[in-house]
Amino acid sequence: MTTYAIEKTDKKVGIGQIVVGEADSLLTTVLGSCVGVVIYDAKRQIASMAHVMLANSQGRADSPGRFADTAVPAMLEMLRAVGGVSTKYRAKLAGGASMFAGRGPMNIGENNVEAVRRALAGQEIPIDGEHLGGEKGRRVEFACDTGEYRISVAGKDVASI
């Protein structure tokens, strides 16, 4: 019997960006105190990942992915455009670290996480899994077909949510 490995297409999500992926996509990014928010429709195998930098847009509408309060509505709009059904949406979160060992703007990570949670709750999207906090960066990848969110810290795989 021959087995076939299906090559997934890596889609990198830059700082403050929102990217949508379909079944053959692997959404990837690197996070520090930013939060990698994924909203996905498991049945249709589509997902959107936002790389959220800050909690509040303070009225700015031109870079929705950068802020928690504007990222979630923009993600929903993008998912709808590719056939997502809002009643099926679930979310997974990673990131929100306190980088520089708590020096500098240390509560940015926590603020981001809280703002993302509020935005998801406002849209009644349940959170299926989280890997948050700590003092280290994360490399994350979300497989749109399986809904698996894999997290590496310091070059080692540490979690799959």
């Binding site: 700082i15 960006q17 690197v30 930098m53 950068r66 980088m99 520089f100 500098g104 703007p105 490399r139």
Partner: protein
């Protein structure tokens, strides 16, 4: 950020001059610190879209060894000195007069040697900036980090994320015995620092 392209490019050219001078000071300090082993040259001062900074600077999935100095206060910023593992350890060993350590973990002495290197570079840059903006700038003690380059840089970029769509990044390269090393210094000013630098430079021009 609403300047005409011409005045913006003139400002960037002036910033380039400023950082070139700061880099010369830093290079002299580094040259003394490493007994002539290491020198620096300014690569360039660039404005990059926030979304593309990590990709443009080749800071993505790789783990890096970094020294971070933070300028706290209204007029602030972050300076990140990044080393590749092999040459960072060679520098630490050379400064300590020891064999290159082969343990996976950096020991306290090695970290201390690199922290001091960061301190020397940071102070040289801060002195140049102090001369420009005429405000005394005192960086935090250096902080040793091993992590993904992108995760550290994005922390520094947050100070710009609310107000700007482009990040101002000053990138410097290192040379040892004339050979370019895979080390860099990134300086990311916050909004107030950036504004003050630009206003001062407008006065100069």
């Amino acid at each position: 950020m609403s300047d005409t392209p011409t005045s913006r490019s003139e400002q960037l050219a002036l910033l380039q001059e400023l950082f070139a001078s700061a880099t010369r000071d830093a290079s002299e300090a580094m040259n003394r610190w490493t007994n002539g082993m290491v020198t620096l040259t300014l690569d360039e001062v660039r404005e990059l879209p926030l979304e593309e900074v990590c990709g443009e600077l080749n800071l993505s999935n790789e783990l890096m060894t970094m020294i971070v100095l933070t300028l706290d206060g209204e007029m602030g910023g972050d300076m990140i000195l990044s080393f590749d593992e092999k040459n960072g350890r060679a520098l630490a060993a050379s400064l300590l007069g020891r064999e290159v350590c082969t343990d996976p973990e950096w020991n306290e002495l090695e970290q201390s040697a690199l922290n001091e290197t960061g301190n020397i570079l940071g102070c040289a840059y801060m002195n140049a900036l102090t001369r420009l903006v005429e405000v005394e700038l005192v960086p935090s003690p250096p902080h040793f980090i091993q992590d993904y380059g992108a995760s550290v840089l994005q922390q520094a970029l947050m100070a710009q994320a609310m107000y700007c769509d482009k990040a101002l990044v000053c990138q410097t390269h290192f040379h040892r015995a004339g050979e370019e090393m895979d080390w860099s210094v990134f300086f990311v000013p916050n909004e107030k620092m950036r504004q003050t630098m630009e206003e001062t430079l407008q006065g100069v021009s």
